[in-house]
């Protein structure tokens, strides 16, 4: 019997692995994120997010979340508590609303994941009052969520859908470079904010890339082991 490459199950372990991978990516790139922020903001985006995700890892290590929703909810609550900068309430509410959207399910399907990211985007838009083109994390997240929803409605394979999401996020973050900021401290710079990548859009790409890479890693592990497939 052949052992075809399996899709990752979007269960509690998967969501924990995603957040763990995102925390590691933020830690690795914290200096870069803060440098991006220093160009147009107050230079603490990487430090703040790294402090927040380090706190998230302590919480996830000492609790045993039973559902994907609990993983995201704990992540959001801890980011709100620990980050200290604007990205704390923004990412925090995004993770919490995404968690709420997942309900009590122990395994999530692709449309469910897309709905959760819809809820995350709506929460960020509501709290930050940012519109498309304001040079914020919305400029990476909105096209990513749209791409994921399109892939989900076409019943695309999980990894293809998540790759389309990451590609759209990257393109969206690249598109912030020529934008003029109209939210946050960068907006005080006016035209001088042009020519710099938005740090919030950059960290959004890292977090979404971690999601895609988690699915790729789990899928390839299962495929290579040839076990655990129903």
């Amino acid at each position: 019997m052949s052992t075809p490459r399996s899709e990752a199950a979007l269960d509690t372990a998967f969501f924990t692995a995603w957040i763990t991978r995102a925390a590691a990516a933020i830690e690795t790139d914290r200096v870069w994120l803060s440098e991006l922020d220093a160009a147009i903001g107050d230079g603490d985006h990487g430090t703040n997010l790294d402090r927040g995700f380090a706190g998230v890892m302590r919480v996830l290590d000492t609790t045993s979340p039973r559902t994907p929703a609990t993983v995201l909810s704990l992540t959001g609550t801890t980011l709100i508590s620990k980050v200290g900068g604007a990205s704390g309430p923004l990412y925090g509410t995004a993770f919490r609303r995404a968690g709420n959207a997942l309900g009590d399910a122990t395994e999530i399907d692709l449309p469910g994941l897309a709905s959760a990211l819809d809820a995350a985007l709506a929460a960020i838009r509501k709290l930050g009052a940012a519109r498309d083109g304001d040079k914020t994390m919305v400029d990476a997240l909105a096209p990513a969520v749209a791409a994921l929803n399109e892939a989900a409605s076409n019943a695309a394979p999980l990894l293809d859908a998540l790759s389309a999401m990451v590609d759209a996020a990257r393109a969206g973050a690249d598109a912030t470079i020529p934008m003029q900021a109209s939210k946050g401290r960068a907006s005080y710079l006016g035209p001088r904010s042009v020519g710099h990548r938005d740090p919030g859009a950059a960290s959004t790409v890292l977090i979404l890339t971690a999601l895609r890479d988690t699915a790729a890693a789990v899928g390839s592990d299962v495929g290579s082991n040839g076990s655990d497939s129903d």
Binding site: N48, S81, V83, G84, A86, G88, P89, T93, R185
Partner: protein, 128 residues
């Protein structure tokens, strides 16, 4: 009496604004919520929540904030404020001028809506 909470990225800025507002506003409860619990610049939802409870005298709490994450953190707290004493509002007002104006109004016995209005009227203060 209506209570006030002053939220800033800086503990010293929040404390200084509270000192000034208390000096001019007499008896009104004015609680600072600045910086991070472990020190350093930033905003802490826990410190803000604690300050709201400390400022509450049963007639409502008006919150003033400086910038960016201070505003976002207060908005988030109010979105989820199931068990906070009410009514609570974030005034759309400058921190220092709004705090003084609101503290004077609160000390005079003004109600929740009037204290909020006093804070927000400070946006139109001209200095020269």
């Amino acid at each position: 009496m209506v209570g006030l909470v002053l939220v800033s990225h800086s503990a010293r800025l929040a404390e200084g604004a509270a000192e000034l507002a208390s000096q001019l506003g007499g008896e009104a409860p004015v609680e600072p919520a600045g910086g991070l619990p472990e020190g350093g610049l930033g905003t802490s939802i826990e410190l803000i929540e604690r300050a709201v409870r400390a400022a509450d005298r049963g007639a409502g709490v008006v919150i003033l904030a400086d910038l960016g994450s201070a505003v976002l953190t207060v908005k988030l707290l109010l979105d989820d404020a199931a068990d906070l004493p009410g009514p609570i509002v974030l005034a759309d007002a400058p921190l220092v001028e709004g705090a003084v104006s609101a503290a004077v109004a609160a000390a005079s016995g003004a109600d929740f809506a009037a204290v909020r209005a006093a804070a927000e009227e400070a946006r139109a203060f001209h200095k020269i």
